[in-house]
Subunit: 269 residues, 2 copies
């Protein structure tokens, strides 16, 4: 069966996370229902990973199989028509190799955490940021964050319910920067432990507020116990930005030009 | 009575516009209820102007009077505590001259209109943008927009229900630019006609899609009839960004230091 790779954006506020749970709205379930409405098939949509309730995605990646060949743009449009008015959209669909796996083949996940750093609470950004009213010193946060780059035992930042076999992960990149009232924390790694990003952010905020020293981060990491780190930052500030796969050529094959394929992108939604 | 000037942010999706209407939630009513809860007084909160249902504000300005002197930061915090969980917040409060008037003294209003210009509909930005799936050529839109700068009869861009005495307005600035999938249109003028911004945007989109020439804008302006312009762009893409007052010294006076005034900003919310 042809396999397709989807790039998906969603507003996590409307869902109980990515993964299907009986009786609760999930992104995966919304996509599987749309797939059924479009194709009549009961298929599974496999994501690159779960996101928690309230966590957003700008570029989640998933794969699915269908019985028949689709012009990828038409598959995206058809799914989007059935997803409405739920706040989840397929940004892009692409034909994928038959063994492409959205979860196992992912080589890097990119997250962004957004903090609204001003005295007044959020009005427009309430479901898109964590409001921290005390001034944050971004340089201190960035310096402390660099202590985490590389391969480490991240037990201190791991949720107690985390199911990963090992607490050892490699953090490729973490960058803290400010744009007006927004403090953004960008992270990239092959994979993350459950709540790892949110627990790192909770710890960075203590350092940014001068409640802990920059060096405190090294002590937290070395402690290897959850209690050493800060609070779990709330989900609504977290965005799964992008998932990458390498080499690109192995995971995406061009659509078969069977005569029905229109090379000019279809603009119907 | 002491007069205060407020800078207010709100999510227009939650309100039937700025202005109080019996039985419908409005931003003005939310602020007046908060004022009553804080002071026990029944006062009127006067805004720089109305915004329509669904239109947002990053920096609406309003004024109000209270019986007693407030440290401005404490007044803002107290109002915000009572505004919760409604998506309206006081970003700043300042003591104002007793004759300061948020509407009549405004010298410039700044608006931004945001278009999501990509094939896929909005998931995260559905209530913050107008989705236009066809590609927009921003250079054409910007060039056409410059035709509108200056003093003109804007009848073609005026809602039929507009109550302004004259259709003649001076547009100080209009700038069209792109940031990824977002096309933003920034405008500034002393004042605008009802739906003027949204009708300009509806016309610019036709030009950006190549459905009309750049010069078409001059013909629309000269026609002086509403039917000549494009559709009214929907409210959710529109943001009142800022209102300015000049000279600043005339409209804001420093708080009276009566011994109770704490110069270090209070951080409680």
């Amino acid at each position: 069966m042809p396999r397709y790779r989807l790039t998906v954006e969603y507003d996590g506020s409307a869902f109980h996370g990515w993964q299907t749970q009986a009786g609760l709205p999930s992104v995966q379930d919304a996509l599987e229902r749309a797939l059924h409405a479009v194709t009549g098939e009961t298929g599974t949509v496999i994501g690159s990973g779960r996101t928690d309730t309230g966590v957003h995605a700008l570029g989640q990646v998933a794969h699915l199989d269908t019985q028949r060949d689709w012009v990828p743009d038409r598959l995206a449009s058809a799914l989007n028509a059935h997803l409405r008015p739920q706040p989840v959209v397929v940004l892009q669909a692409a034909r994928a190799a038959s063994d492409f796996h959205a979860r196992f083949d992912a080589t890097r996940r990119y997250y962004r955490y957004r903090i609204l750093n001003r005295r007044a609470p959020a009005a427009l950004e309430a479901l898109r940021t964590w409001h921290r009213p005390l001034p944050l010193t971004v340089d201190r946060m960035h310096a402390a964050a660099q202590i985490l780059v590389g391969r480490h035992d991240f037990t201190s930042f791991r949720a107690t319910e985390c199911q990963a076999k090992s607490p050892i992960k490699t953090l490729d990149l973490i960058h803290v920067h400010r744009d007006g009232d927004i403090v953004a924390i960008d992270l990239a790694a092959r994979s993350f432990l459950h709540h790892q990003v949110r627990n790192i952010v909770g710890t960075l905020v203590l350092i940014g507020q001068n409640l802990r020293s920059v060096d405190h981060m090294a002590a937290v990491l070395a402690a290897r116990e959850r209690a050493a780190a800060g609070q779990t930052a709330p989900p609504q500030g977290l965005f799964l930005v992008k998932v990458s796969y390498a080499p690109l050529g192995a995971s995406i094959v061009p659509p078969v030009n069977d005569g029905r394929t229109i090379l000019k992108p279809s603009r119907s939604v």
